[in-house]
Symmetry: C2
Subunit: 230 residues, 2 copies
Amino acid sequence: MRQTQSHQSVQAALLKRIHSGEWSPGMFIPGEVELALEFGCSRTTVNRALRQLAENGIVERKRKRGTRVTPMPVARATLEIPIIRKEVEDRGSEYRHSVVLKEIKKAPASVTARMQLKDKKLLHIQTLHLSDGAPYMFEDRWVNVEETPGIENAPFDEISPNEWLVQEVPYSDGDISFYASSANKELADFLEIKEGAPLFIIERTTRMNDVAITSLKMAYTEGFKMTSKL
Amino acid sequence: MRQTQSHQSVQAALLKRIHSGEWSPGMFIPGEVELALEFGCSRTTVNRALRQLAENGIVERKRKRGTRVTPMPVARATLEIPIIRKEVEDRGSEYRHSVVLKEIKKAPASVTARMQLKDKKLLHIQTLHLSDGAPYMFEDRWVNVEETPGIENAPFDEISPNEWLVQEVPYSDGDISFYASSANKELADFLEIKEGAPLFIIERTTRMNDVAITSLKMAYTEGFKMTSKL
DNA sequence: TTGACTTTTATGTGTATACATAACAGCATA
DNA sequence: TATGCTGTTATGTATACACATAAAAGTCAA
């Protein structure tokens, strides 16, 4: 029998059994061949459905052992980190930015540790991002100049360093972390908030083949919220 | 020619071209048939490689139009939100929790709005989670009792509401958000921090077929950091 | 010129088949 | 007993083929 979208319906059927508790966490589920027979489709189709469930962390698969419902399901949220300008404009606000500092300098230890670049002079850029004229986010960025040709002449009054890098410099991997912190004097001044006010911090380092390209710290004022579906 | 892992190598080859700038953002790349010919593999294999790239947001695909490198790539971070006990124990600390409040009550407007359950009495549970005896996170949870049979008799002195729900109550979807806030008097007392100290807040609502199961707010003290790969 | 129809094209998906590979079980040999 | 060599099994992956489908491009008649 040839159906369309059948891997999706198979996946839905499997999910239903898991969600209903018919297959409980930790339990091994029937093999691909058996399921293919039951659903009246090919093993390929079942395989795809199961593969997708495994990608989403719903089931765990191992050769020979079989497939089982993940015993302790970890909730996963996929966050999308858009370009700042888009983030602001999508909310219907006007975006502006201003580069408040641009220097070539030896980075402090905390930055060199993250980037694993010792004793190199890095480009240090601080940018204030504004939404409808009000301070929205403060960005403190360090850039490995050797890996980003052209950055010295980039027109940062027109395009933000954020956007320029995303468009001009490819990266292969990186890491990101989120935490809460309180504003120090400098940040408080820039963001026009009280010293000690809570900030949402995103720290991000991107690399190309294990060589750090840029590392940055973004400080969002209270009111910023990051949302995602589970 | 039959190779193993070839969809991975094809994907790697495609990624390389994108990262190297040979194919720049917004550009349409050759069709599946053409690529299959070039790589000496079947269209199926190219399809799978491209499908995975599309899932990761690297390329955009549309029937008939073709495949193009995502013009404005949005960085995506997949966060894993583990069970609190695991989170603490994985860091080598001893986990304990204590339920500080358990009542059946009409929820305040902010909660009913999130859960879209009006005028229902909900179970309200507040739990303090401890790491090596020190306050780690404060959880404020509202539960739709009708959808969670057995919760009234659950042994919350042994197992945390968090863990009990994950294991006993299946859910189909939900949403989650992250933001920074400052501690009010009550939270400051529980978490043994100063009033006004920054907190990392995770708000989460889970649903089963569009019916809210539980909605909770988790407040982490400063020092908590959520990390992920890009 | 406009609007309805047809063709073309690139991706989307399903089937049958084959071989690859990891891990386990059981047997046999030193 | 320990160790190495078989199968065996379930998933992992590649291939050739066929049909589905959305969207663009082309065609033609009112």
